[in-house]
């Protein structure tokens, strides 16, 4: 190896990308060439300069924000035409070359289906002896949204077509949060609805009703069990405004110790420290944050708990 050959290999040498044989050749040349040894040292200094440059780190809040935005985008995606196609054809992969043809075919199918369906609505009922649902009046159709079609079966003999579909009917409820029926719908939504954005909005609506036992229970449930970190964070904000009790305190301690999201854990620390004095729970909280300040795996949580320890110690003075 000569000096000219060495130059492109210096970086590979520093990055440990050379084979054993190549490395031995470089070592042999360096042992005999002071100029190249100086060049290697300069390259190593540049390598260290680059390595020493602090790199941006996403904060827990940034990650929560990103997850929330992605959640909303995926919700929109599911409701869009792609989501509809995927629900009809689970293996659907809209390759660019087939996309236009596929969409056109589906549009033609849709028009054909509508054309076939509307004029034959009454004949269909007669042809099938009344087995077809009869509630498809014009007003109902306008008020329904087809969420999936599981079967389209034309009958060549009668000219009829049987369509099996799931349809949702939009209903608007309006009323006061003091109405237990309204409250119950909202409580069920928090616990069971699959759209995280709606669950979050529901928590916001229920915030002022936290004195109600079922609402209180739903808020604490969302804080501990919601699968979406953004929703858990919203629940935490709602819980902070509640009348503080041992159930709240214990829920927040559990979140601090066990939540999978660092942003939610860090927010729990703030809430606990804020209310510890009022509840007389400083000692119990101090034990937890003291332990986490030294042993938690996450550096942000450790820092936050350390700050909490200092604040609690300050309160004792």
């Amino acid at each position: 190896m000569n000096c000219k050959d060495l130059e492109p290999n210096l970086w590979l040498y520093l990055y440990d990308e050379l084979t054993a044989g190549e490395r031995a050749s470089v070592d042999a040349h360096l042992a005999a060439c002071e100029r190249c040894r100086l060049q290697l040292e300069e390259t190593r200094r540049l390598h260290q300069l680059l390595s020493g440059c602090p790199q941006p780190e996403p904060t827990p809040e940034m990650l929560v924000h990103c997850r929330q935005a992605l959640d909303a985008a995926l919700d929109r995606e599911q409701l869009g035409w792609r989501g509809l196609l995927r629900s009809w054809f689970p293996g659907f992969t809209p390759f660019p070359a087939l996309r236009a043809a596929t969409v056109l075919t589906l549009l033609l199918f849709g028009f054909g289906l509508g054309w076939t369906l509307r004029p034959r609505a009454t004949k269909l009922e007669q042809a099938t002896g009344g087995a077809v649902p009869t509630s498809f009046a014009g007003a109902d159709l306008a008020n329904m949204r087809i969420s999936s079609i599981s079967q389209v079966a034309p009958d060549p003999q009668t000219g009829a077509v049987r369509i099996t579909l799931d349809a949702e009917r939009r209903v608007t409820l309006e009323g006061s949060l003091d109405d237990p029926r309204i409250r119950q719908v909202l409580v069920d939504t928090v616990k069971r609805y699959d759209n995280a954005g709606i669950r979050r909005d529901t928590l916001d609506a229920l915030r002022t009703q936290s004195h109600n036992p079922s609402v209180r229970e739903a808020l604490l449930y969302a804080l501990r069990h919601d699968p979406n970190a953004g929703v858990r964070l919203e629940a935490l904000r709602a819980v902070e405004g509640m009348e503080w009790g041992s159930d709240v305190h214990q829920s927040l301690l559990d979140v601090l110790e066990r939540d999978s999201n660092v942003g939610v854990r860090v927010a729990a620390v703030d809430a606990l420290v804020e209310h510890a004095e009022a509840l007389g729970e400083e000692e119990a909280l101090m034990e937890v944050v003291n332990r986490l300040a030294t042993r938690d795996q996450n550096p942000y949580v450790r820092l936050k708990c350390l700050a909490a320890v200092q604040k609690l110690e300050g309160n004792e003075d």
Partner: protein, 210 residues
Amino acid sequence: MDGFCLELAGKIPGETSGLAGGVTERTLIRRAQRGDREAFDALVRQYDQEVLRLVLRVVRSPEEAQDLYQEAFLKAYRSLARFRLESRFSTWLYRLVTNVCFDYLRRQRTRGEVQITEKGDGEGDHAYTIADDRPGLNPEHALRAREIGRRIAKALSRLTPRERMVFELKHWQGLKLRSIGELCGTSEEAAKNSLFRAMQKMREQLGDLV
């Protein structure tokens, strides 16, 4: 596969280890391919912190990083049906993320925009990035560190998209050049050449600092 992907694979449950509830990644992928949104969300949570870290380091802007994060995972969601279970999911995902970063860097070059902003000097949104918090830095050292950071960011902006990605993946992510070639859709030799060119340019821009 080696380097970062292996490291990730070690952290991420694969075929033989389980997630909470005994669910493997393979099971999650199958469910997500069938439209199970919660399964997809679980897959996202396994990788998104690393993805966000990578895109933030490439674009150096929290807002852009959030956009790229979303773009990458939306693409993953839309194309998940094409993923073959014989391959490693982390490799597939990171290849997708790398392409998203490439597209971004190419768009920036086309627009003639140069990202030379380095946060950490009191400007910008500290809710999204963490400034250097090494204890014991005196003001003069801190000032010099910030100046070096700006010079490095400027030098990085002069690299081509491929040089930038290869450098990022090699120097700060620690991947092997063979893995980098695979992620960038090229050969190990081409990745090696990109790295060499990148380091030459970095030396030209920063040689006076060493």
